[in-house]
């Protein structure tokens, strides 16, 4: 079976800026992939090219084995874009009915409304909606045609914590039916929590590609910190420790194997207090990865 998405050597230049600088990426059917990166990393440009809204300057893009434009025309793709809006004086229900009418195998209206939590505002005009509700109607519009591939550009950007959670719950139900999802985000926790696979972008390039935990590992695992009575000499030689940092009266040990480091610390008989171990988190991983790339 063909891949859902395939990019080979794709580049896109806007004037002097190389927004996307040679990307190779394949996404299999049924995968949920996060495109993670800071603003200006090339995420939106990549998504726009996958929708045929922008033409790549170089390289090849295929969506279900065809050109992005053909895939969109065939109703295989739904998308939530940051800059998209709606006809001002239309009602929510009219927008959704229109979206459904444009696709061959739409989802039932009631299901779309319920999934996007718009049932209560169905008769309201779209220009009378809040920011979070506007974002949800973008979701509803993307969902209505029951597409095989969903492309989401910063989908939760105007949502509060609660609607963010219910958004991802709805998304989980959708992906459970075997759909493919690619979402761009700079919410690092989102990428870690909701994607099977995280693709990190910076400066128009893919700089890392793996599961959330793999990405974290690449950037240096966990951090162990504690207060220490006495000198910190020799801590750098403990197994599993990669670096030592002193911050006030706390010692920070960066570890690639925190289990081994804890054991060694206990056996060394040092007098420590208030031990904490934290995962570096995708945030730290992300900073390490992107700043390393920036220095090139």
């Amino acid at each position: 079976m063909t891949q859902a998405v395939r990019l080979a050597g794709v580049a896109k230049t806007y004037g002097p800026v190389r927004a996307v600088d040679g990307i190779d990426l394949s996404i299999g059917r049924g995968e949920t992939v996060a495109l993670l990166g800071p603003n200006g990393a090339g995420k939106s440009t990549t998504i726009n090219m996958l929708l045929g809204l922008a033409e790549p300057g170089e390289g090849v893009i295929e969506v279900f084995g065809r050109s992005p434009h053909e895939a969109v025309q065939a109703g295989k793709v739904g998308a939530m874009l940051q800059e998209s809006g709606f006809a001002a004086n239309a009602r929510v229900i009219e927008i959704i009915e229109l979206a459904r009418a444009l696709y061959k195998h739409p989802l039932p209206t009631a299901e779309v409304l319920a999934t996007a939590e718009l049932t209560e505002v169905a008769r309201r005009r779209v220009d009378k909606l809040s920011g979070g509700q506007t974002q949800r109607i973008r979701f509803a519009f993307a969902l209505a045609g029951n597409p095989e591939l969903l492309l989401l550009d910063e989908p939760t950007v105007a949502m509060d914590v609660e609607s963010r959670q219910s958004f991802w719950a709805a998304m989980r139900r959708f992906t459970a039916t075997g759909r493919t999802v690619l979402f761009a985000t700079h919410y690092l926790a989102e990428a870690d929590d909701y994607a099977d696979r995280v693709v990190v972008m910076a400066h128009g390039k893919v700089i890392a590609d793996g599961s959330g935990s793999e990405i974290k590992k690449m950037a240096g695992g966990r951090t162990m910190s504690f207060r220490l009575n006495g000198t910190g000499d020799g801590l750098a030689d403990l197994p599993g420790v990669t670096a030592v940092e002193v911050r006030g009266d706390r010692i920070l040990l960066r570890c690639d194997d925190s289990d081994a480091a804890v054991q060694a610390l206990i056996h060394s008989g040092r007098a420590y207090r208030d031990l904490e171990i934290t995962g570096a988190g995708l945030e730290a991983a992300f900073l390490t990865l992107t700043s390393a790339n920036g220095k090139e």
Partner: protein
Amino acid sequence: MLAFLKFEARRLLREPRAIVLTLVLPVLVYTISSGNQGDVGGLDVAAYLMVSMAAYGVLVGVMTVGISVSQERASGWLRQLRITPLSPGKVVVSKALLGSLLAVPVVLAVGVTAVASHGVSLGIDRWAALIGLLWLGSLPFAALGLALGFSLPPQLTQPVSMLGVFGLSFLGGLFVPTEVMPKALAQISGWLPSNRYAELGRSIVLHHAPPARGVLILAGWAVIFALLAMTAYRRSAAAK
């Protein structure tokens, strides 16, 4: 496409004030200026001005489609539509079709005023022909409005459209008949779509077949404006 037409028609009917406002201006100008007796180009003033003012009103009304398009472009609605299976060509054609339909109430309103105030009488068949032809003939202006809407930002589309309407109306002889224009100006006028559009209407009132030359010129402009609209649409889509 049918679903989109229905959707757009519903939105249009939701704003009856916009439609009513479009009708007020030509009816008002007609009422004020049609008091004179006499005739122009074989038609009495009341009938001549009825066609001119209907044509002017149609231009104003039909070209507003460009203003709404430029707003929808800015709001991202057209972009949203572009990522659905609805093809861009169908969006443009639907907009032009619905925009041009505004011609019908405008011609009706000015016609009713002319009948009521000056007893202009045509008979059912000629009224129907007048409305039908003035609707068809309004398509080039809808295309021009769309070309402007797709190429200009919203704050510029309105003044530029209005300038276009006034320029075309004035030079096309809708305010001052070509019969009393300086010769050079009258010659230019003969090449303008607005002039040939009004001529189309007058020929019905006069019981003539529309002159072939005039229809050709109007059709020529229709092609030019439609191409302009398509090009502007493609460029606006590529730019954003």
